[in-house]
């Protein structure tokens, strides 16, 4: 994973739960440009644990002077966002991966409809800048619980294509209305809670939208579960995966070489062959097809877990 050591230039609270961080090159060098929807993985040395979380870039894709992210503090989470909020200060050096985009705009589209729920607004902040620069037709629907919690209000430009839907102002999203009268060639992008993504998929299916015109990104932390053991076929070693640890993290802790990128079950980079499986793999990824998942011959160590007698993987 190619990465850069960058200096925290700014850390600012956007809402009580969301903080914006700006990273710059320590010697002021220009950073590689990216495209709207790209993310970086931030490494956080937290005691003897090395945490790695993926965050969408919210800065201007054409501006190489720095990278910016917005981090929502998840108090019930695994600790990465708490670390960012409590420990990271301007002047600190953090290792940041180069940007990678798994949620790019499909530039063949005639029109782009962006639907964000809560902190799912982050990839769209950069995409809106890209769309405005390219003068492409778009509309953004941004739903949040309240104005106080809507970090996007501070990050988005004041343009008529952007519509706010604030639940406690009785102005909820009407997905049927967003999807019913769109011109041919429209693509829809959804980022937010799984419920929102599923609702858009269902509404789209009901209205006859082909799946290829519906895109989504769910930022998923590795779900916790029961601890389990895994046998590594190449070395014969057995490793233990803790309740709040992912298999990928356990492999890294055991110094097993493994490639990764998104750490959220979307990119496919850490896909691992299963040599034998006596039990059930709890697939949490969006990479393997349903058939591949039920065959239990592949596992995505970044998010998926195991329950049963024994699991041997090709690592």
């Amino acid at each position: 994973m190619t990465s850069l050591m960058l200096r925290v230039a700014e850390a600012e609270s956007l809402t009580p739960l969301v903080k914006r961080f700006r990273f710059e090159h320590p010697r002021g060098e220009s950073l590689p440009l990216f495209s709207g929807g790209a993310h970086v993985v931030v490494e956080m040395p937290d005691g003897d644990v090395l945490r790695r979380n993926a965050y969408s870039l919210i800065s201007d894709p054409q501006d190489g002077s720095g990278y910016e992210i917005a981090v929502r503090r998840e108090d019930g989470g695994r600790g990465g966002s708490r670390f960012m909020h409590a420990r990271v200060r301007p002047g600190d050096l953090l290792r940041i991966s180069l940007p990678l985009n798994l949620f790019a705009l499909d530039l063949r589209a005639r029109k782009h409809v962006l639907i964000a729920g809560g902190i799912g607004i982050t990839p769209f902040v950069a995409q809106v800048r890209q769309l405005l620069r390219m003068q492409l037709p778009f509309e953004l629907h941004y739903g949040a619980r309240s104005r106080d919690e809507a970090a996007g209000l501070r990050l988005l430009p004041d343009v008529p294509h952007i519509h706010f839907h604030i639940s406690d102002e009785s102005n909820r999203m009407d997905l049927g209305a967003f999807l019913s009268a769109q011109p041919l060639g429209t693509h829809v992008y959804t980022c937010g809670p799984e419920g929102l993504i599923n609702a858009v998929a269902q509404t789209g299916a009901r209205l006859g939208w082909p799946k290829t015109a519906l895109h989504s990104e769910v930022f998923q932390a590795p779900p916790p579960g029961r601890p389990f053991e895994v046998v590594l076929a190449r070395s014969g070693r057995t490793i233990e995966v803790g309740a709040h640890q992912s298999l990928l993290e356990a492999l890294e802790a055991a110094e097993v070489e493994i490639d990764w990128s998104c750490r959220g079950g979307a990119c496919g980079r850490c896909e691992t062959r299963v040599v034998s499986c006596h039990g059930r793999i709890e697939h949490h990824d969006h990479w393997l097809s349903e058939d591949e998942q039920s065959a239990q011959t592949r596992i995505m160590p970044c998010v998926s877990r195991f329950r049963g007698e024994s699991l041997i993987i090709d690592r």
């Binding site: 011109p183 041919l184 209205l207 006859g208 799946k211």
Partner: protein, 204 residues
């Protein structure tokens, strides 16, 4: 008449999955000649497909006679337009595409030339490929673009044939352009001018 089954070829050679009902969604239907029977079969499988369908029909070339047009009209589409050729119907068809929304289905049935041209028009209008059903019915004549002069010759029934624009002798390839809606024709006697293989009838 049944839908055509083509012999296996290179991946670029289109094969048509046939018309399958997608319920009472807004739809555009375009058929030519015997393709009208594919629409009649579709409506028989699920009459609700006609409820929001705008149907365009080119009877030309139909061995089935005028009664197929009468049958199609009787299926009760939301609108019915008939024209002497695709070229004649094209402005209306293009307008219907411009007015259509995402979620609209397109059903195409007839010759490869008709399917290819209408599909190219629809894709250029932004309709996703996944929203198109097509079924081949009728003859096997192809629409071919000369790779040398870029002129398109309609209804090419033999291989090789003479380009109707530049006069070169063209070999008809299975190489197909979805964007242009035509097969590729390449000069067959470039190395040996005048020595042209005996023309064969194009078969599925």
């Amino acid at each position: 008449m049944r839908a055509t089954e083509f012999s296996p070829s290179i991946p670029s050679r289109p094969v048509y999955g046939g018309l399958h009902p997608h319920g009472a969604l807004p739809s555009l239907m375009l058929a030519e000649g015997a393709g009208g029977e594919a629409l009649a079969d579709l409506a028989q499988a699920d009459p609700s497909v006609m409820r929001h369908a705008h149907l365009f029909y080119v009877p030309a070339g139909a061995a089935t006679g005028p009664d197929l047009a009468v049958r199609l009209r009787a299926l009760g589409p939301a609108s019915y337009v008939e024209g002497p050729s695709y070229a004649a119907l094209r402005p209306r068809f293009a307008r219907a595409l411009a007015d259509a929304h995402m979620g609209t289905r397109l059903y195409l049935a007839g010759s490869e030339g008709l399917i290819g041209q209408a599909m190219a028009e629809a894709l250029a209008a932004g309709l996703p490929l996944e929203a198109i059903d097509a079924e081949h019915r009728g003859g096997f004549a192809r629409r071919v673009q000369c790779v040398h002069c870029k002129g398109i010759t309609e209804n090419v029934a033999t291989d090789p044939f003479t380009c109707s624009h530049c006069g070169l002798n063209l070999f008809v390839r299975d190489h197909y352009s979805r964007r242009i809606g035509a097969f590729q024709g390449v000069c067959v006697d470039a190395e040996t001018p005048g020595i042209v293989p005996e023309p064969q009838e194009i078969k599925p």
